[in-house]
Each structure stands twice: as structure tokens, then as C-alpha cells.
Symmetry: C2
Subunit: 133 residues, 2 copies
Amino acid sequence: MAIDRNILERITFDDQGLVPAIVQDVKTKEVLMLAYMNNEAIMTTLETKRGVYYSRSRQELWVKGSTSGNTQHVVGLSYDCDGDTILLQVEQTGVACHTGEKSCFFTNVIQAPKKQDVINELYALIRERKESM
Amino acid sequence: MAIDRNILERITFDDQGLVPAIVQDVKTKEVLMLAYMNNEAIMTTLETKRGVYYSRSRQELWVKGSTSGNTQHVVGLSYDCDGDTILLQVEQTGVACHTGEKSCFFTNVIQAPKKQDVINELYALIRERKESM
């Protein structure tokens, strides 16, 4: 697929030339992390399909997993209505967080109820089928 | 439940006193939007369980849905490993995006494959049960 380089014109970068990128596991839909991208990070991600960010602490391009092996294969990339946030959907190898947790968001202030989506959705499906018989 | 006011000490706000907040639909796990919170937005969200943000354009507290009716009931709140991003899990009334789309992330550069999770997970579950019989 040809890379749409026009994306850069539609993204609003902040005064540091960065845009926040939400990274989501495409399979589980868990939010894994938030990172920042600059021009080059976006283009490199589009070209290589690997999660590539800009490290604000090291002030350099950061290929996720290049040292840890916890790479990200990017299978989806979208941006929001005002073009100032990117959403990446990835296949995550290993864990996303440097602490060893799968997701960086492991500290809960309010604990969301555990999902039982498969069972609930299956139940809804069966009920729907039964009602339409 | 008592509100954990210590959360504010564990959050790293930027030089504007803000922290990005990812908002996710607790049921579908779709990422709905990214907004920004200040001290007051966080405390008001914890107290009211409504999605309350800081509008950078209007420079004021913004109770999501106060004019549109598209409110958010916050059922989960966590922060990431370095405390500089918040993740909210919400029950969204209506749509999250001011354009009328459910999610703000409706513009795809790379289109992620459509999920067939319910079927796949059900298949895996049935296969697992069969194998363990």
C-alpha cells in the first residue's frame, strides 16, 4: 500500500513538534501506553509498520522494542477529529511497559468492573436468536 | 468509597498544569477521545463520576455532555507507570465526538482489520472445553 504522506499536513503538532499517540492492543483492545510522535516517527512507523516514537527524555527517535525485543507491529493508524492525537492499533510482542506489566496503566484509582464480554455478548446473541425464531 | 486525594501527588502535570486523559468505552473498549485534565478536573471527576476535563481552547473546566447531553459515567480511572497519562473507562451516553461520530478517531490512515472477537473467543472456548473433556 502506498503511504499517505499527506497525513503530516493533517496532524496538528504541539510547540515541541510532537503529537500524543495512544497505543492499543488490536486483539484485546487494552490500552497499552501513551507515547509521543514527531514527523519522522510517524513516517518511519508508516514505512516499517513498527511502533516508532520520539523519546522526550532522550530527545531521539525511539524504535519500541529495539533493545527489549518488545516490538509493536502496527496494523491500524488513525487520528482524531481535530488531528491532534494519533491512535495506533498494534500486535504487541511481549509486554508494552518497561516495568514488565502488559500495559502501562496498571495503577487503578477506580477499578473498572471486570469484563465478561464474551459471555454477555453470547447471551445477548442467543436471546436475540431465540426471540426471532 | 472514599476518594483517594493522594492521586494528585502521583500525577505529573505538564507546564500548563495539565495531563492527557485517554477515554475508553468500558463495554466495547473502543478509544473514544483524548482530553486534558487539571487538578480540579480530576477531583471533580472522582467526586461526581462524570467525565470532567479542562478545555484548552476555552480555558475552563468542561463537564462533558453538559450542553450536548452526551455525558460520560466514569467507572474506571487509572494512571500510567510514570504518572503522566490518565486512562478513563466510561459508560458513554450517545456519542463522544462533537462531529456526531461515536469516537473521535474515525479517520484511518491504516485501517485495522475488523474484529471478530466474539466468534473467535467462543471458538477458542469451545475447543478448549472439548480438549479438556
